[in-house]
Amino acid sequence: MDWMFFGEISLAGLAMGGLYSLIALGFVIIYKATRVINFAIGEIMMFAAYLFLAFAGGMEMSAWIALPLAVAGGSILGGVIEKTMIRPMLGESPISVVMVTIGIASILVGLVEFIWTADPQLLPSFLPREPVFIGELYLAPKIAYGFLIGAALLIVYLLYFRFSRGGVALRATASDQAAAYSMGINVRRVFSMAWVFGSLAASLAGVLVAATGGLSPQFGIIGLSVLVVVIVGGLDSILGALIAGVFIGWLETVAGAYFGGEYRMPATFLVLAVILVIRPYGLFGTHEIERV
C-alpha cells in the first residue's frame, strides 16, 4: 500500500469533508429551528453557484465582489422559500413538508436550466493557484483554500450561536418552541432567520464546491451526500454534522479513489444503513421518545 497516495487522498477527502460539514451545518440549523428536512439544499447550493457564475463570468465582476453577492442571493432565496412555500405548510405532516422541498428542488433545477442551459459550466477560478504542501503531502489549492474559507464561516457560525442574542433565540426555539414563544422570542423571525442562515452556509459551500468540481444542473445530487452526513451525525446535532461531514467526505473520496467513482455513493449509503439500524437518531442526535 502506498502511504503517500493514501495520505494525499485522505487529505483531499478531509478538506472536502470540511465543506460537507458546512453544508450539513446549514441543514441542521434549518432542521433544529423549523423541523423541516430540506431536500432542496443541494439545489440552493447550485443556485448560488450559478449566481456566482453570472456575476463573475457573465458580468465580469471581481470574484471577491461576486462571491458575497452570490451568497447573499442564495440566502435571500432561502428566505423567500421559507416565507412563500414552507410557512403555509406549518403543522402539516413531515412527509408533506419534505415533498414540498423536493418540489422546490425540481423547480430550481428547471429554473437553472431555463436561464443557464443544461450544459456543464466551469466557474472562473478565483482561488490562489500555488500548490499547497502539508508536510510532504500535496493538496490541490482549490480544495485547500475552499476548506479554509468554509472553516472560517463555520467558526463564525459556532461563535454566533454560542454568544449572540439571535443565536440564543434560535437554540431556545429549537429546544422548546412554546416556551421560547412565551418568553417573548419572535418564533416566526427565528424560522426565517434559520432558513436564511442555513441557505447562506449552503450557498458559500456551493460556490466553493462548484469551483473545484464544475457546475451543471445535476449539481444538486450532492444534497444526497449531505443527507447521509446529517443522518449519520444526528439530525439535530451541530457537533454531529461537523464530525460526520469530515468522515463522510473522507470516506467518499477514499472509496472513489481506490474502487472507482461508482463506489462513492454505495460506500456512504452503507454507513448510513448501518447507522439507521444501530442508532437511528444518529451518532449525536437526540433520542426522541414518543408518547401517545
Binding site: M99, I102, S106, I107, L111, E113
Partner: protein, 347 residues
C-alpha cells in the same frame, strides 16, 4: 340528482359499488377501455400503455404511503427488480409472460420485505431515507452485477409470449397491461375491505394505538411493503416487456419521486386518487410536448425550453397541490360529483 341511500347492513357499507348507477358507469368505462385500442392511433396506444403501467405502480405506492403511512423513495428500485427479473427470465428461459410477471412481482416483494425490515425501528423520514439507501444499492447492483444484469449496457429481451402468441406491438401489449391494471386496482380495493387493509389504515393513523389494538406492527408493515413492491415489480415487468430493453438508468431516483408525486397529486390514501394522479402526471409531459410542437413554428427554440419547463411544472404541481389542495385530484373529483348530485337544487 341522487337521493340518499341508507345502508342497512355492514356488507352494504363496505361494498365497492353502492349504487346501480356506479355499476353502470363502471361498465361503460370498461367498454371504453375495450374499444379504445381499436379507435386510437399508435401514439394514443403508446400513451395508454404507459398510463396503465403508471397506474399499477402508483396503486402499489399508494398502498404503502397513502394507506400504511410508510413513505418510500424506493419505488423505482422495486420496479427495476421486477424489470430485471422479467428480462433475465426472458433471455434465459422460455416461460410465458403470466409466469414471468408473477415471478417479477414475487421477487420485488421479497426485496421489499428486506427493505422494510428497518421499518419497525425507524419510521417517517428516517424510513424514507432507508428506502433511498436501498434504491442506491439496487442501482449499484443493476450496474455492477454484469453476469446477470448486463452492467451499464443493460439487457434487451424477447417479446412477451403465451401459447405461441407473441406480444410485439403496442396494440397487443395494451391487452396485457390494461386488464392487469384494472384487475390489480380492484384487488387493492378489496384488500381494504379485509382485516389486513384495515390494519394498514390503523397503522397509518397511529402506529402505537394500532399496536395496542393487537396489530402486529412488524408483520403488517412488512406485508404492506411486500404488497406494494409486488405491484411495483409487476409494473416493472410490464415496463420491461413494453420497452424491451432494461438499463440501470431506466429506474432513476427521479422515477421514485415521480410516483410519490403522482400519489400526492392524486390524493394520498385514496385508490381513485392514485389512478387520477398516475394518469395526470403521465399526461402532463405529453401535453407539454404537444404544446411545444404547436409553438415551434412561431418560436423556433421552443423545444430547448421544454425540458426545463417540465421540471418547473413538475415541482410546481407538487408544491401547489400540497399547499392548496392537499387531498389531491380525488378531492376535486368528489367536489365535481357532489355538484352534479345536487345539481338543479343547489346553486
Amino acid at each position: 340528482m341522487r337521493i340518499g341511500d341508507a345502508k342497512q347492513t355492514y356488507e352494504a357499507d363496505e361494498a365497492i359499488w353502492t349504487t346501480q348507477t356506479q355499476k353502470l358507469w363502471f361498465g361503460l368505462f370498461l367498454l371504453l377501455l375495450l374499444v379504445f385500442p381499436f379507435m386510437a392511433d399508435s401514439y394514443l396506444l403508446y400513451l395508454g400503455c404507459l398510463v396503465g403501467i403508471a397506474v399499477i405502480s402508483t396503486t402499489g405506492l399508494n398502498i404503502l404511503t397513502g394507506f400504511t403511512g410508510l413513505i418510500s423513495l424506493g419505488q423505482a428500485g422495486f420496479m427495476g427488480v421486477g424489470a430485471y427479473t422479467v428480462a433475465w427470465l426472458s433471455v434465459n428461459t422460455a416461460l410465458p409472460f403470466p409466469v414471468t410477471l408473477l415471478l417479477a412481482g414475487l421477487m420485488a416483494a421479497a426485496v421489499g420485505i428486506l427493505v422494510g425490515l428497518p421499518s419497525l425501528r425507524v419510521k417517517g423520514l428516517y424510513l424514507a431515507i432507508a428506502t433511498l439507501a436501498a434504491s442506491v444499492f439496487l442501482h449499484f447492483i443493476f450496474a455492477e452485477w454484469e453476469s446477470v444484469t448486463g452492467g451499464m449496457g443493460g439487457m434487451s429481451l424477447e417479446p412477451a409470449h403465451l401459447f405461441g402468441w407473441s406480444f410485439q406491438s403496442d396494440f397487443m401489449m395494451y391487452f396485457i397491461i390494461v386488464p392487469l391494471a384494472v384487475l390489480m386496482v380492484l384487488a387493492a380495493a378489496n384488500v381494504f375491505r379485509t382485516r389486513i387493509g384495515r390494519a394498514f389504515i390503523a397503522i397509518r393513523d397511529r402506529d402505537i394505538s394500532a399496536e395496542i389494538l393487537g396489530i402486529d406492527l412488524l408483520r403488517y408493515k412488512l406485508m404492506s411493503f411486500a404488497l406494494s413492491s409486488f405491484y411495483a415489480g409487476v409494473a416493472g415487468g410490464l415496463f420491461a416487456y413494453f420497452f424491451r430493453v432494461v438499463t440501470p438508468e431506466s429506474f432513476p431516483l427521479s422515477m421514485s419521486i415521480f410516483y410519490l408525486a403522482a400519489v400526492i397529486v392524486g390524493g394520498m390514501g385514496n385508490l381513485l386518487g392514485g389512478i387520477l394522479g398516475a394518469v395526470f402526471m403521465t399526461l402532463v409531459p405529453e401535453a407539454l410536448k404537444l404544446l411545444t410542437s404547436a409553438l415551434t413554428p412561431f418560436y423556433p427554440n421552443a423545444p430547448v425550453f421544454m425540458s426545463p419547463m417540465l421540471e418547473i411544472i413538475f415541482g410546481a404541481l407538487i408544491v401547489g397541490f400540497l399547499i392548496f389542495e392537499p387531498h389531491g385530484l380525488a378531492e376535486i373529483w368528489h367536489r365535481i360529483r357532489r355538484f352534479f348530485h345536487l345539481w338543479p337544487f343547489r346553486n
